[in-house]
């Protein structure tokens, strides 16, 4: 059967590549591409993939698991604790409100109360996969909307456990055995009394925390010592799979377990290593997951009762949207942030698949009801990117923070236009200094509060993702002289650099970078003007230290300038050296080697011995030598 597996893999990969490329080209999110690919290769269009959809879905759930593991890695327990108010508050309001409204809806539609309750639980959940993927893609994680969405999703991921625990209580049958449960893992907990179930869950959580500390980290250290790269990948997978298995065994959602595992490891030195290892797999698996969702849209069910399905679908989305909007209202989000939140979480999430099939296994839902709800879930997921796009392109520009506000341009802005990307600590200093010289930069920023403020101050500001070609064009890149990347996100700078080099080669790029490694990357993309934020400031500090130790300030000043010059030279020299692999441990080692090289060179070159100006001793020496001869 390898042939057919190979063929399936080819179909999936080709579908993904074609559809996602097209989606990206059209400026849509990659999620749309994946979903569309799924629909196309699924049983109802080309039929490459038959009923394996469910198996694939099950496999692809690892994408979701990995995503939560990675999200966990990003959260240090301290931050988690700091966010507790938002998580509980926003998440609570959202889940409670949505459940209440959808329960009313489904009761009105004539469903039995138990069924209505289960369905409303499923409806209350949003798709972590889709929402987080989109937020990451649009780099909105550091906005109010980003943290709010993240808090709500986190709360949902946690509440799912309780829902899964609660659903069996609704079961009509006496025996709670989920033998027919179509998830094929054994569930240890079903045969245990309730007290033990809770105990087992608690135990497994403790187990993860303890194992993280005393088993996983030492294992990773050993693996890292071997220096075999693929072992690290294996180890990363082993962690994720192991946690998933354990969680399924005790009947908690593996995604949540993975999240917990991530949090446990977020303080370890392997954080970045694990991130960079799993990232590509996660994205591919998530893509597979979205494709599986697309492929599992049952068009026959839709064809049988299009009106019912359509009606419920719209009603559910509207309910979720209203609750989300109100949640944003309660927590005082600005209008455009509220809208982003409303439209990006208005779908039913992937956990609904789990909940619904679990309830079906317990005979709470009929096959028909489950199919209907599964279709609605899949459809609502597919609609999300489209709704978000409408919001972004149509609604937000009108009512939220406008992408742009037309202003009459003075002549200097026309002939010598400067575009400044990012107006944080770094960019604002640039902008202020330029403005004090009467030079107005056109600013691009994706923080709506900041954008509003800057507009009040009379700047020309464009709101949105600076890597979007159309936004750059409306900001006037065609007639710009210089574009300044003051953002600290190297991906943004790299993307802008590619666009500018390709389409507007006459525009000069001036880029801020965090460190020499980012500087290497940008140099190798053919950029000349790189400004490392870590160079001048640290030398100024060092200069002041030496001055306090008795060195003369003017000499130090000159030495700092010498040092900068020679460091810039070495930067350009080393940029062309072969790159260290993109992985943290080896990179760290390489960095140390490079530092060692620098320190040796600094001594050899005798940067201090070099400076003979105004040095009478040096002249005396030379004259003495002359006399000796």
């Amino acid at each position: 059967m390898t042939g057919s597996i190979l063929f399936e893999a080819i179909v999936f990969l080709a579908g993904a590549i074609i559809c996602v490329s097209i989606a990206k080209r059209l400026g849509l999110s990659s999620v749309i591409g994946y979903l569309l690919a799924g629909v196309l290769i699924g049983p109802y269009v080309f039929g490459f993939i038959g009923n394996e959809g469910d198996d694939i879905l099950h496999f692809a759930e690892f994408g979701v698991v990995m995503m939560l593991f990675l999200i966990g890695l990003e959260i240090e327990p301290k931050n988690f604790w700091n966010m507790r108010k938002t998580i509980l508050g926003m998440g609570g309001i959202q889940v409670g409100g949505t459940m209440l409204l959808s329960y009313i809806l489904f009761t009105v539609l004539g469903f039995e109360w138990k069924i209505a309750l289960v369905i409303s639980m499923a409806v209350a959940l949003s798709s972590t996969a889709i929402a987080m993927q989109t937020i990451k893609e649009k780099r909105l994680m550091d906005t109010t909307f980003g943290t709010s969405a993240f808090s709500i999703l986190l709360f949902q991921d946690i509440i799912v456990i309780f829902m899964l625990g609660f659903i069996p209580l609704l079961s009509n049958t006496e025996d709670n055995a989920s033998a027919e449960n179509n998830s094929e893992h054994t569930n240890l907990l079903d045969s245990l009394p309730v007290g033990f179930q809770t105990l087992a869950i608690l135990l497994s959580v403790v187990l993860i925390i303890v194992a993280g500390r005393y088993l996983i980290v030492p294992m990773l250290r050993k693996v890292a010592k071997t220096g075999v790269r693929e072992l690290l990948i294996a180890a990363a997978f082993l962690i994720v799979f192991g946690i998933s298995f354990l969680m399924e065994y005790v009947g908690i959602s593996p995604a949540l377990g993975a999240f917990l595992g991530g949090v446990v490891l977020s303080n370890s030195e392997f954080k970045h290593e694990l991130e960079s290892t799993l990232e590509p797999f996660k994205n591919l698996l998530l893509g597979l997951f979205f494709m599986a969702v697309g492929a599992s849209i049952n068009f026959i069910v839709i064809a049988n009762s299009p009106l019912t399905i359509g009606g419920i679908l719209i009603a559910v989305i509207v309910i979720k949207a209203i609750v989300l909007f109100l949640t944003g209202q309660v927590f005082g989000l600005k209008l455009d942030q509220k809208l982003l939140l409303t439209f990006s979480l208005a779908q039913i999430g992937e956990f609904a698949f789990v909940l619904l099939s679990f309830a079906f296994g317990l005979h709470i839902l009929s096959q028909e009801q489950m199919d209907m709800m599964l279709v609605i879930t899949a459809l609502s997921m597919s609609l999300t990117p489209i709704i978000s796009m409408i919001n972004e392109r149509v609604i937000l520009p009108r009512i939220g923070t406008k992408e742009s506000i037309k202003r009459p341009m003075d002549h200097i802005a026309k002939s010598q236009k400067i575009i400044l990307v990012g107006f944080g600590h770094f960019g604002s200093t640039i902008g202020r200094f330029m403005r004090s010289h009467g030079v107005e930069a056109t600013i691009l920023d994706h923080d709506s509060n900041r954008v509003d403020f800057l507009r009040k101050m009379g700047f020309e500001v464009y709101y949105g993702d600076a890597t979007r070609l159309d936004l750059l064009e409306s900001a006037g890149i065609a007639e710009a002289k210089i574009i300044i990347c003051a953002t600290n996100k190297i991906e943004v700078s790299k993307a802008i650099s590619k666009i500018v080099k390709e389409k507007y080669p006459h525009v000069e790029l001036m880029i801020r970078t965090k460190n020499r490694y980012d500087a290497y990357e940008l140099l190798n993309l053919g950029n000349e003007n790189i400004y490392r934020e870590s160079l001048e400031t640290s030398l100024t500090l060092a200069k002041d230290v030496l001055s306090k130790m008795g060195f003369r300030k003017y000499t130090l000043n000159r030495q700092v300038q010498n040092f900068i010059k020679y460091d810039e030279d070495s930067l350009r020299r080393l940029a062309s050296e072969p790159k260290s692999e993109d992985n943290y441990i080896f990179k760290a080692r390489k960095e140390l080697e490079q530092q060692e090289k620098f320190l040796n060179e600094d001594f050899k070159r005798g940067i201090v011995e070099y400076d003979n100006h105004w040095d009478s001793e040096h002249i005396r020496k030379a004259l003495d030598n002359k006399e000796d001869q």
């Binding site: 000159r558 300038q561 010498n562 003979n612 100006h613 002249i619 030379a622 004259l623």
Partner: protein, 198 residues
């Protein structure tokens, strides 16, 4: 055709009517390099190697600067301190500048009349320029009298035009052949007959 290096120092060039006129008039001449020190080294951190190389490539050095406090702007003094190194420009082995020609091109606010023992500046421009003269001589260069645009505070546009034309002509003459015989004991190179249509 001799190559001319104009070492131009002015800390606020954008505000100097006279120097802009002079520099703009000659900046496109062939074999003339205008080296704007304040633009090149805003931090006073002069790249000595680059400067020496420039000097090697030219035959005539003109120190072009406003005559602040009877001397040059600080960056030009910095340039002299740093670039004219011991055992390169002077000293037992310093002969890099041997045989080159050197002069000052200066602009002064006060008029020629006050630069004399009776005037309120008490000394002549030639006397004030002694340190530059001796610097050139110690480096083995031939020192020519200065080209001076004086009384700039009250200079009419017509007079300025004459000055800039003359500066241009002087550059042309220097490139072809102008030697010590051409100006005898004149205090200013402006006064040579070739520049006065005599």
């Amino acid at each position: 055709m001799k190559k001319i290096l104009i070492l131009f120092s002015h800390p606020k060039f954008e505000k100097s009517r006279v120097n802009q006129a002079l520099i703009n008039h000659i900046k496109d001449k062939e074999n003339v390099t205008i080296h704007d020190l304040y633009e090149e080294y805003p931090d006073f951190h002069i790249d000595v190697a680059v400067e020496k190389e420039l000097l090697n490539q030219h035959d005539i050095i003109i120190w072009h600067h406003p005559f602040y406090w009877y001397s040059c702007p600080p960056l030009m003094k910095q340039w002299i301190d740093m670039v004219l190194e011991f055992n390169w420009a002077y000293g037992p082995e310093g002969n890099a500048l041997q045989g080159k020609i050197c002069l000052n091109a200066i602009t002064t606010g006060a008029s020629k009349e006050v630069y004399c023992s009776e005037g309120y500046n008490s000394f002549t421009v030639k006397q004030f320029l002694r340190p530059f003269e001796q610097t050139a001589i110690l480096c083995g260069m031939e020192y020519f009298p200065p080209f001076a645009v004086m009384g700039t505070h009250k200079l009419s546009d017509e007079a300025l035009t004459d000055y800039k034309m003359n500066y241009g002509k002087l550059i042309d003459l220097l490139q072809v052949n102008l030697s010590a015989n051409d100006f005898g004991n004149k205090s200013f190179i402006n006064d040579i007959p070739q520049l006065n249509n005599v």
